[in-house]
């Protein structure tokens, strides 16, 4: 039996940020659960009531499992969920010295703990020299516990990877496997910032904030003749991926980076083209458009001729000997307005405006994480579609 479970957008809850953290987050129910989905607690509560009906030994199971709920919890959990959270918040207030009330916490959305001094992980070990809870009392990269276990020691990192005497570069022999001759690159696949593993890969607004690409060090790329934006194939005997390259000095020589979790898209050769549907990356791989009126079906399918009343029909181009598919603009302007505007322009050109107050942007780029939420918000406000800006 597969039961549809509500997402955290569809239930009222609180959370600690992953992993731990010094604040609580309020997670209100944003929408009612979609379709027939219910929260875990609703499902388990209902299951308890139904089991109770089947077996006299289980009498009162529903109420024991979910004491605050009646049977109608399955249809409307809101009041009960709120009651549990209020109780929980009371515990937080008592145990953790929180003075903020539940209603205030809900209103603010976040409760952040303040400390007298900055939190330092392993402060006791660092400052007082207290031992860690390991046999040696130190942070163990080679686990002495595992080494003494009945199943025998597991191969340690130290035996699988050995730093070469000659240098720190992986390509100069850190990895001692014989396969290194055929496979000179070490591929790492970190968690992406732009999705949760594979979840949200298909969200256009998130897809616009990154490029699924392979990161390669500039000296490696130079040796192979690869430039940023080139479509490259990365392979070993397990499979292949086809992705645009991103050439940078910020990647260690001999290491490639491809973020995990993008959706499978096999081409006819059995290669995974991770970057779909932007493959090849149109923003980078296509040459710059030379003519501003050229129709670009790839970027804006909805912009076909005639879609906008401001655009002429393709046939109009014949007068100017333009090939089919070219558009001409036929915007009608109010010449009175233009005259006023031109007067203003001439005045502002010869005598720059001295505004009463000049507003400006300030951006503290030290703390900027490059999430591009500002760009998405701008596009959202101005009704611009997700996707890269025109490749013009």
């Amino acid at each position: 039996v597969l039961l549809p479970i509500a997402t955290h957008f569809e239930r009222h809850d609180v959370a600690l940020p992953w992993y731990k953290g010094h604040y609580y987050i309020h997670r209100p129910k944003v929408i009612e659960p979609m379709g027939e989905s219910k929260t875990d607690l609703q499902v388990y509560t209902e299951l308890c009531y139904r089991l109770e009906a089947l077996d006299p030994a289980l009498k009162g199971l529903g109420k024991r499992y979910n004491p605050k709920a009646e049977r109608n919890y399955f249809d409307n959990p809101d009041a009960v969920d709120e009651a549990y959270l209020v109780d929980w918040w009371k515990k937080v207030q008592d145990h953790q010295g929180v003075k903020m009330g539940w209603e205030e916490f809900k209103r603010r959305g976040v409760y952040k703990f303040t400390f007298d001094k900055p939190h330092v992980a392993f402060r006791e070990q660092i400052e007082k020299g207290e031992p860690f809870e390991t046999p040696s009392g130190k942070i163990e990269i080679f686990s002495t516990t595992l080494a003494r276990s009945p199943t025998g020691p597991r191969p340690s990192t130290a035996t699988r990877f050995r730093r070469s005497r000659s240098g720190s570069s992986l390509s100069s022999g850190w990895v001692t496997s014989a396969k290194v001759k055929q496979h000179p690159f070490h591929l790492i696949t970190p968690h992406p910032r732009w999705r949760t593993h594979s979840i949200f890969h298909n969200i256009p607004w998130l897809r616009e904030t990154y490029q699924q690409e392979v990161t390669i060090n500039a000296s490696d790329a130079g040796r192979l003749g690869i430039a940023t934006g080139d479509i490259v194939e990365v392979w070993n005997e397990r499979g292949k991926v086809v992705v645009p390259a991103y050439v940078t000095e910020r990647c260690m020589p001999g290491v490639l980076v491809i973020y995990e979790g993008s959706w499978m898209d096999l081409d006819k050769h059995g290669r995974r083209s991770l970057g779909q549907p932007g493959l090849p990356d149109q923003g980078r791989a296509q040459p710059r458009r030379r003519l501003r009126l050229q129709h670009d079906p790839g970027q804006h399918p909805q912009e076909h001729a005639g879609a906008s009343p401001r655009l002429g029909q393709p046939g109009d181009g014949a007068l100017l000997h333009l090939p089919p598919g070219f558009l001409i603009m036929t915007k009608k302007l109010d010449m009175k307005q233009v005259k006023v505007a031109l007067t203003r322009k001439v005045a502002q050109t010869y005598e720059p405006v001295k505004p009463k107050q000049q507003l400006g942007f300030i951006h503290h780029n030290v703390d900027c994480i490059g999430c591009r939420a500002c760009e998405i918000a701008c596009k959202d406000k101005n009704g611009l579609p997700p996707g890269r800006a025109s490749a013009a």
Binding site: M252, D296, V338, K345, Q348, L359, D367, C374, K381
Partner: protein, 131 residues
């Protein structure tokens, strides 16, 4: 805009949010053949009147910062106007409101220069709270 440099292992990287600088003497303004671009007297914001833009893209070529951008669907050039409607309503632009790290803000330019503006906004706490 993402900036990086140096050579491995001595590298650096940072991001710059530069939508439009709303210049004192905008390079885009004199290039507009219809006078669609103007600078507001009240707050110095440089805006384009979309109803007058004919999409000639001269401003796009003139701006050294790439602020005016071509909209192929509308066949006009658009640029950041610091969300003038939000400003006029006493609020801040969408980009500022969306910034989850609270690193982006607007303010009078003198205040930004002498750093008298609030440098950074914090998530609400018991002790300090951004209203």
């Amino acid at each position: 805009m993402y900036v990086e440099g140096g050579h491995y292992p001595d590298v650096f990287a940072y991001k710059v949010n530069m939508s439009c600088n709303h210049c004192a003497e905008p390079a885009c303004l004199p290039t507009c053949p219809t006078g669609a671009i103007w600078k507001r007297e009240a707050d110095g914001i440089v805006d384009i009147d979309s109803t007058l833009c004919i999409g000639c893209r001269r401003c796009e070529a003139a701006c050294p910062y790439g602020a005016p951008q071509w909209n192929p669907k509308e066949q006009i050039v658009q640029k950041c106007n610091m969300c003038v409607d939000e400003i006029d309503a006493g609020r801040k632009p969408y980009c500022v409101m969306a910034c989850m790290m609270r690193v982006l803000d607007i303010g009078p330019i003198e205040a930004l220069w002498n750093a008298s503006t609030r440098r950074r906004r914090w998530a609400p706490t018991t002790s300090r709270c951004a209203r």
